[in-house]
Structure formats: C-alpha cells, structure tokens
Amino acid sequence: MNKREADALLARRHRRERWFARFGLATIVFAGLVLASLIGSVLVKAIPAFSKITLEVVVQRPASADIPARQALARAVQQQLGLSGDAAERRQLLQLFSNHAPDDYAAAQAGSSQTVRLSASDDVDQFIKHYKGTTQTGRLNELQLQYLQKLKDSGFVHTSFNTQFFSGADSREPEIAGIRGAFVGSLWTMLVTLLVAFPLGVMAAVYLEEFAPKNRLSTFIEININNLAAVPSIVFGLLGLYVFLQVLELPRSAALVGGLVLALMTLPVIVIATRAALKAVPPSMRQAAQALGASPVQVVWHHVVPYALPGILTGTIIGMARALGETAPLLMIGMVAFIADAPQGITEPATVLPVQIFLWADSPERAFAEKTAAAILVLLLFLLAMNAVAVYLRKKFERRW
C-alpha cells in the first residue's frame, strides 16, 4: 500500500466518522425538537387553566326561605344591574354562573359580607379567555353577552389566579374542578407501591444474586422475572381484581389496592435493576470482606448493597415512574371513577393523576381541554420531582473504586 492509497483510506475513515457523529447529533436534535414541541404545546394549552373568572354579586338580605337559591341569585343580579326581565331572562342570566353558584350564594346570604365572588360558568370562562375581541361568541348568546358586558362595565368581573385548581378535587363543572384529589391519590398509591415493591424487590434480588444456588430452578425463576417485566399492565389489573378484591376482599377503588397492583407491576423491574447493580460490584469487595471474617449476611448488607445502592435506586425510580403513569390496571380495580373528595388514607376511594387526565380528556365540556393540559403539567412535575430525588440519592450514596 503506497502513501496515496493509505491517505485515501484514512480520508474515507474520517469521513465515515464525521458522518456518524453528524447522524448522532441529528437524532438528538430531532428528539429535542419533538420533546420541546410536545411540552410547548401542553404549556400553551395549560396556561389559561391557571386563571379563574369570578363574578361579583351584591348579597341581598334577608334571605327568604320561600325563594329557591337559583331565583334568589338571579334576582340579586338583576337588582345589581338595574334590570327587570322575566323568568326566561333570569334563566339566561343564571347561565353566566357556575352550576353550584346558587348554593354558594345561599351560603353567602347566611354570612355577613356585603358581596360574594361566584365562579363564572365555563362558557363565560372560555369566552373571556379565548373569544374576547374576536367575532366568535362561543356558546353565549346575544343577550348573555350584553349581560356580561354590563357586569364588566360595572367592574363585577374579576380574573384571578386559579387557586381552586390546586386546592379542589374533581368536579363535573370544569370551572371549579381541581387536581388535589388526584394528586393526593397518586401520593398514597405511590407510597403503597414503594413500601411493598422496594423491600420485596431488593430482598428477592439479593437472595437470587448472592445466596441462591445456581441450578435449574433459579434459572427458571430468572427467566420468569424477565418475562414478567414485559407483561402488559392490564394483566396485573386482572390479577389484582381477582386476588385483592375477590379473594382478600380489600376495598374497591382504594389507593391500597391500586398501590399493590402497581407494586406487582414494578417488582420485576426493581429485581432486574437490583441484580444488575449487585453484579456490577467488583468481587474483590466481597473477597476483602470475607477475608476479614465477615459472614455472608454481613458481606451483603455492609458492603455489597451499599455499593449497589445508586443502581438500585435508579431502577426503583424507573419502575415507580412507569407505575405513576398507569391507568389500564386501575380500571379493573375501580380507580377510574368520579371521586369528589381527596382521600384521607389508603383505604379510602381514590383516583390518580393519569386517570384524572383520561377522564377530563373524555369530557364533552370544552373547558376541560385546558384542565387536561394543566393536569398533564402537574403529572410531569411530579415525575420530575421523583427523578430529582433519585438523582440526589444517587449522588449521596455514589462511591467510586
């Protein structure tokens, strides 16, 4: 091979390497763009959900027991705006308010404040957020737009930060629906999952890796664990329905059962990750400990597991993150449900964030679209927080040799 041939060969190799690097970069850029557009679109859609429109009403007293709350509210607003319409017009007026506003007004009549701020209906909410200044009117008619304009001119329409979204539980009225119930439900469920799956998974992995004799049985178990990690999650839901609800008779829809089902789903992931982490600990560590007279149990718990801990935690968090996003197995055990109160404990009926997203996305009311996006944002933040904890723990326990 003369010099020219060698140069040509070298140039070709360099070219190939450059192309490979460019290709790699392109895939990263592509993935980045997709992720950015996804999060961007969710963010843009979610922003309106964080503001809330309220209508201020002057409270009329004394409250009369004969007049139903709806009538009382409609008359109060008429008086406040100097209107005098018939029942049909009052009905139009009431549609500016949330379905539960009359009850809130009645409660305010019993109190002492002069005015009360009531939730506007989702139609008003959407109109002010999206159609203001356009020719579109959304679902409001001419008369209702006039009323709304009057309320606005008199300074009775307020826009504020939507604290109710974070403090309230699910509601069929998009304007007052909140994420707290699902958030707390997710917390309880994840707690159960962690408390069951983490110790069981780590113990199983430690036994299989450090103590179990290598024979056909242990190979068989290993193959099964690997297969279980790939089983579709709905199967675990069916298993949970039978074992936890029908045989053990645990309460339906409870975070306890949800957590147990998700724990079953997460277990194989944790076992596999833990075994990989244990394998990565150099044999010299074990030998050194044994040489100093440590018993097998001491070797494992004093030396091997602490060194493997960062890997174990990473695997656990990956498994937990997958469990956090599951809805399919929860359908079977009754957690895909309308639950109006945040759960107080693991045996109370609960729902979780992804289920809440699913239920809102399926609702006819268009105002739920922005709530859905906002809920997705909350779920992503939850996930991010979980990962942050994992990174922190890993950094804390990480050792080098």
Binding site: R139, L195, L245, L248, P251, S253, F338, D341, P364
Partner: protein, 353 residues
C-alpha cells in the same frame, strides 16, 4: 422504621376487611351516562351532606357484570346503562341473588352525524348512510363488497365528495346504538336485503366496511371532534352532548330531513336517539345510606326536568308524564321483577313512549 410502616400497612389491610353498612353509594357503568350521574352525585354530595357517591366509568356491559355479581356491600348499588338491560343479564343477576332490580330511565342521548362548518351542509337518509357504510351492498341483484367511494355514486343529488367517517369502535355503546338505529333501520329499506333469510340479514345490516372509509377513532368522542377540525370533508359519529359543546365549528347532518336539535330529539322526530337507564339494587335500600334519596334527587325536576341542571350536560329529558312515572317507581320502590312482563326492553326512540 420501614418495618413499622409495612406492619401498619398490614394492619390497615386487616381492618378494611370488616364488613359494615356503607355510607357511600357506588355507581358503575356506561361512559355515556357517566357525565350525568357524576354531576348528580356532586350536587347530591354538596346539598345533602351525604358523602358524594363514587361513579366509575366502566362501560355498560362490564358495569352490569359487576352489578350482577351479587348482593352485598362490596358490590355496586347502581349501574349506569346506555341501553336496556338484557334478559340474559337479568338471569345472571338472579343467579347471583340480585332478585330485585329497579329500572329508572334518565332521558335520551341523540347520536349525531356532523362535519366541519366550512363544508357545505347536506342531508342524508338512513338508507344512504347504510349504503355508504355497509361492508356488502346489493348491486344488480348480487351482494358485492361496497363499491361506493363518493356520495354522488349513492345518490346523484349528494355532493361529489369522498365518503369518510370517523366513528366509535365495536366495544362502544354508541356504536351499538348507531348500528341498531341507523344501519339496521336503513338496511330494511333495501329490498334485496329484506328478501334475504333473517340470519343473513342481520349480518348484512350490522357489518361496517373495513376498507378505510370508516375509521375507528377510539372511545373518546373528543378525538373524533378533533379529527373533524382537520379533515373538513369527513363525517363524525358521536353523542349529542359533544356536538352541543362544539356548535361553533361543527355542522350536523339532517337525517331524513330532521335536524339533530334538542327539540327534535325531545319530540322523537329525530330518529337516532336512545334511552339511558339507571339500574338499582333494591336489596341495598336501608343498607347504603342515602340510596333512595340519591334516586329521588336524580329523578327530580331540578336535575332531569326541562330546566334541570343536566340539560347543560347534554341530557335530552323524557316527556313530563314519563318523568313523573320514574319518580313514582322510586317512591314505590318498584323493581323490574315486580313489574313482570310489561318491561320495555329495547333502547328505542322517544316515539315508542
């Protein structure tokens, strides 16, 4: 510490096993009725101080299975249904000891065919919809794979436009109702099919083509609505409540020259609507707190009346006499079994009232 928590968990498992009278109503069933029942549940919880009932969205069939699994506080009290309960399901119920089931009708749900507003409005007959969607249609006296690609081929007065549908998958109750109310009804009007033996007829009427003209779009009606925003020539099939929320962008198709409007569905003039039902375990009265009160609230004028709060949620109410009849059923605690043979079984249209 960890051990303590685990043992706590085990303890709570033991405690939850205790059976006691429930203070929270449990509802399962149809995803179509879910928005209505959960709305009543929420209002009921707020106004009466009872615990807000839990409403699960499982689908009608799965809901009835859960409901019929037995009597006892671990089974649901009410099932939402977007069709009438079948006799075979009632038999199942009976086998498991659920011998007293109360049937109350909630109201109607219209099924709407709609397209984007930018497309020119046109109307269809059920026969035309059948010819557009059937897997096999008669051409020259023989059943052949559906050859129609454009509306104009079916009827020269229809637009020169590709036939394209977004609709629910076979697992959906909306699909069942669509097949029953549109496809079956339309196909009876085709003489070649009316001449077929009954078993073949059913197959010919109920089978939707699979060559890409009808695109199954999942159980979520909002997905169909969104597809229509992009594909302006396509027709979507979904519930009236979803159409009502998206009137500003969607245009409904008249069926047999009747608009899919509130008043037309109410009067029964619009042919594609079905009844929605609640089935309640009478045996749970007195065991579950507030069960009868909940049914009373559900059948009250305040909820299901012409100005009730469910109207905004897309409910088409029953006629006043029928609403009164539902309240009477609740008051008398009359079960299907006690009523005997008079029970109307089909979903049916308001005309059958």
């Amino acid at each position: 510490m960890r051990l303590k928590l685990v043992s706590l968990l085990a303890l709570s498992v033991l405690f939850s096993n205790q059976a006691e009278a429930r203070d929270q109503i449990r509802v399962v069933g149809s995803s179509t009725v879910y928005p209505l029942t959960s709305s009543v549940a929420e209002t009921f919880g707020k106004r009466t101080g009872n615990r807000t009932p839990i409403v699960e969205s499982t689908g009608t069939g799965a809901g009835i299975k859960l409901f019929c699994a037995g009597v006892g506080l671990e089974t649901p009290d009410i099932v939402n249904a977007s069709r009438g309960i079948k006799d075979s399901e009632l038999d199942d119920c009976k086998k498991n000891g659920v011998t007293a089931v109360m049937e109350t009708r909630v109201g109607f749900d219209g099924i709407v065919l709609a397209h984007h507003k930018s497309d020119k409005a046109y109307d269809l007959t059920r026969k035309e919809v059948f010819l557009a969607l059937a897997k096999e249609v008669p051409v020259g006296g023989k059943m052949v794979a559906n050859p129609y690609k454009k509306w104009k081929q079916i009827n020269p007065s229809l637009p020169d436009q590709e036939i394209s549908f977004y609709g629910p998958p076979p697992t959906s109750g909306t699909r069942d109702a669509f097949v029953e109310l549109v496809m079956d009804a339309g196909c009876k009007l085709v003489p070649e099919i009316a001449a077929l033996p009954e078993s073949k007829q059913r197959l010919a009427c109920g089978t939707i083509r699979e060559d890409g003209v009808y695109i199954e779009s999942g159980e979520n009606d909002n997905v169909i609505v969104q597809r229509l925003q992009v594909n302006h020539h396509a027709l979507g099939i979904f519930g009236y409540g979803y159409f009502d929320q998206n009137r500003d962008t969607l245009q409904s198709v008249k069926i047999e020259k009747v608009d899919a409007e509130f008043s037309n569905i109410l009067s029964g003039a619009y042919p594609v609507s079905r009844s929605m039902y609640l089935y309640t375990k009478k045996q749970h009265f007195g065991q579950v707190a507030g069960l009868k009160e909940f049914l009373k609230a559900y059948t009250s004028e305040d909820a299901v009346g012409e100005e009730g709060y469910l109207i905004e949620k897309g409910l088409i109410p029953l006629i006043p006499e029928l609403r009164a009849a539902q309240r009477a059923i609740v008051d008398a605690e009359e079960s299907v079994q006690e009523r005997g043979q008079t029970r109307e079984n089909s979903g049916g249209s308001p005309k059958k009232n």
